[in-house]
């Protein structure tokens, strides 16, 4: 088991390092001189030279990358070109805000999808299933900005309960942000649930047809007990990877949803960075998302082992 986790950790580190390298290369692909590109053609030669120094452009690319990695390991992601502040502290502040909605979205989305998936699976091909499956098909077919916009139409315009936009800055207290987190979190959890529900439904149908569930039923156990104790743990198992992928994908959804609500998190930071061509900020966020992806996958693997004793014994990866 330790060996398995260690091997997965190794693969995870390799993935993140390669991803950071790809992002670095992509951002170096700015045509022409990077400093001139960022500042525009009217920039004075002095300003260009200052930026060149700041970005270390006079050094070869591989050295810049290694220095960046060295700094990043110690939590130093360079200086933002737009605000002049340390990227690390800016990132931490926005990350806190994003975590507020992300944690809520993941908790709500998973609860949503587990319950709805089980209901759809148990009532296969009857009206609750048709309703839930239809809704998840629509959920899969609309982008996050549409979900968010419809929520604004419903809960900010028609029934004004929640604010449609956030006016707070990133350094607002949690208490100030509290009224604003519900709609973004709801939008994200709907987008998250759409995929997981379908996976969960398929999984529940498989498990309910299995011999041990039939046996449990024949032993006269109540439906509730059969579903909760016997079916659910086994139905969740194949869903774990889908959950992990969708949670990792949430980083992308966050960018869009935060933009709709002007919520001061990682997403709006990223969009501003794209407008300002703020390369250090962009690079830090892209690599952060790769870390989240890797961690989610690792968590799914470990959770799969927790739920399935057979995986624990052999210590061999089946993934």
């Amino acid at each position: 088991m330790t060996l398995f986790v260690a091997r997965r950790l190794g693969a995870m580190v390799l993935t993140v390092v390669l991803a950071s390298l790809l992002v670095f290369v992509a951002l170096q692909a700015l045509p022409g001189d990077v400093a001139t590109q960022i500042l525009g053609r009217d920039a004075t030669p002095e300003a260009v030279q200052v930026l060149r120094d700041q970005l270390g452009l006079d050094q070869p690319a591989w050295r810049r990358y290694l220095e960046w990695v060295g700094g990043a390991i110690q939590g130093d992601f360079g200086t933002s070109l737009a605000s002049g502040e340390a990227v690390g502290s800016e990132l931490a502040l926005h990350l806190r805000n994003t975590l507020l909605i992300a944690v809520l979205a993941i908790a709500g989305g998973l609860l949503f999808s587990l319950v709805l998936g089980v209901v759809a699976g148990l009532y296969r091909d009857r009206w609750p299933d048709h309703l839930i499956s239809g809704a998840s098909l629509v959920g899969m077919s609309v982008p996050e900005f549409v979900v968010a916009t419809v929520l604004v139409l419903l809960f900010s315009v028609t029934i004004p309960v929640f604010p449609a936009v956030v006016l707070d800055d990133a350094d607002a207290t949690v208490g100030q942000l509290l009224p604003a987190i519900w709609l973004p979190a709801l939008a994200l959890s709907i987008a998250l649930a759409a995929y997981v529900v379908r996976m969960m439904r398929a999984s529940v149908i498989d498990v309910m047809a299995s011999e041990y569930v039939q046996t449990a039923r024949l032993r006269g156990l109540g439906t509730g007990r059969v579903v909760l104790r016997h079916a659910l743990p086994n139905a969740v198992l194949p869903t774990l990877n889908v959950i992990a992928l969708n949670v990792a994908w949430l980083v992308g959804g966050v960018v869009v949803v935060e933009t709709v609500f002007n919520y001061p998190g990682i997403g709006t930071l990223m969009i501003d960075a794209v407008y300002d061509r703020d390369l250090p900020v962009l690079q830090a966020i892209a690599v952060l998302s790769a870390v989240v992806y890797a961690l989610c996958n690792l968590a799914a693997d470990v959770a799969a082992m927790g739920l399935n004793p057979r995986l624990r014994a052999g210590g061999r990866s089946t993934a």
Binding site: A11, L14, T15, V16, V17, L18, A19, L21, L22, V23, A26, L27, Q28, A29, L30, P31, L137, V138, M140, S141, V142, P143, F145, V146, T149, V150, V152, L153, V157, A164, Y195, R198, M199, A202, N241, V242, L245, N246, A248, W249, V251, G252, G253, V255, V256, T259, V260, M270, I271, A273, V274, R277, L279, L282, I285, A286, S289, A290, Y293, A294
Partner: protein, 296 residues
């Protein structure tokens, strides 16, 4: 693999097409889905004939007019007819979506089959790269590319292609790996056939079903991605009518003319529902598990 008996029936190229056609015919969901998609394509092509307004013609006096017989979906802040813009609004998304999906699935299929056949270090290297590209969410990767190369139709097409190739490689490689150890591939190898011809004649017909489902699924994701990019302001450029961009523009007047925001949403949603129905139907018809695999 359900494609195998069909390759016996005809030449491989026909077999591939026939596999896909049979799959579409056998599934009601796929038929309905593709019909919806076809309708959207027709509307996008015939848009100028369906309306008496021009999509970029602004009439300031009629700005933000509500729903009426003259403007069935109201007008936007520049007095442009929303329905007209919705009818034209699929063009950018459809073109980008079609080009990038076909390019990504085509490229990914060839690479996926190749590494499955080749194995060894090439397989390892490619799969490591695939993993690391998949680690960055598509929309973030697109934003990085857009920052470096700027916006524009071709940049967006190229960027989506690059972002989607790794996912296709992984899926097709897995499908091809189950074909590679079979007798007829070994026989082809023993005959001394070249790798490229084995790939084309033995592997491709047998992964055709997986590739077709992948095509429909990728197209639906690409449509979502393009419209999200337009919504964020890095896709279609104003005054181009585009669903994602229209939602971004008309959203500011959500309280005044909600229909101006809802109309492009409905258009986009029905298009993607069509693609998803097609993907679902095909996957079901061929027994491919659409969800127990790596996603976007």
């Amino acid at each position: 693999m359900t494609g195998s008996e069909l390759t016996v029936a005809g030449t491989p190229a026909q077999g591939t097409l026939r596999t896909v056609w049979a799959g579409i015919r056998s599934s009601r969901a796929a038929t309905i889905g593709l019909a919806i998609v076809a309708l959207h394509v027709l509307v996008a092509i015939a848009a100028p004939l369906l309306t008496s307004y021009a999509p970029t013609q602004s009439v300031p006096a009629e700005a933000l007019a509500g729903v009426s017989w003259d403007h069935l979906a109201g007008t936007d802040q520049y007095g442009r007819d929303v329905l007209t813009r919705v009818l034209h609004g699929g063009r950018f998304a459809l073109v980008v979506c079609a080009l990038s999906t076909v390019a990504a699935v085509g490229l990914g299929t060839v690479v996926g089959c190749f590494v499955a056949l080749r194995g060894g270090w090439a397989d390892n290297v490619v799969m490591r790269l695939v993993d690391s590209v998949l680690a960055v969410p598509a929309i973030l990767a697109l934003l990085v590319v857009v920052t470096a190369l700027g916006t524009g139709t071709w940049v967006v097409v190229a960027a989506i292609t690059i972002v989607y190739v790794p996912g296709v490689v992984r899926v097709v490689r897995a499908a091809a790996q189950s074909v590679v150890p079979l007798e007829y591939v070994t026989a082809a190898r023993a005959r001394g056939e070249r790798r490229w011809s084995i790939l084309r004649r033995e592997l491709l017909p047998n992964v055709a079903d997986v590739v077709a489902v992948e095509l429909a699924m990728r197209a639906s994701w690409a449509a979502l991605l393009v419209s999200s990019l337009s919504f964020l302001g890095f896709g279609a450029n104003p005054p181009t009518p585009d669903w994602g961009l229209m939602v971004a523009e008309n959203r500011t007047a959500l309280t005044v003319v909600p229909m101006a925001t809802l109309a492009p949403i409905v258009a986009l949603a029905t298009f993607v529902v069509g693609l998803n129905l097609a993907a679902d139907g095909l996957a079901k018809a061929w027994g491919i598990d659409r969800f127990r695999r790596d996603g976007r």
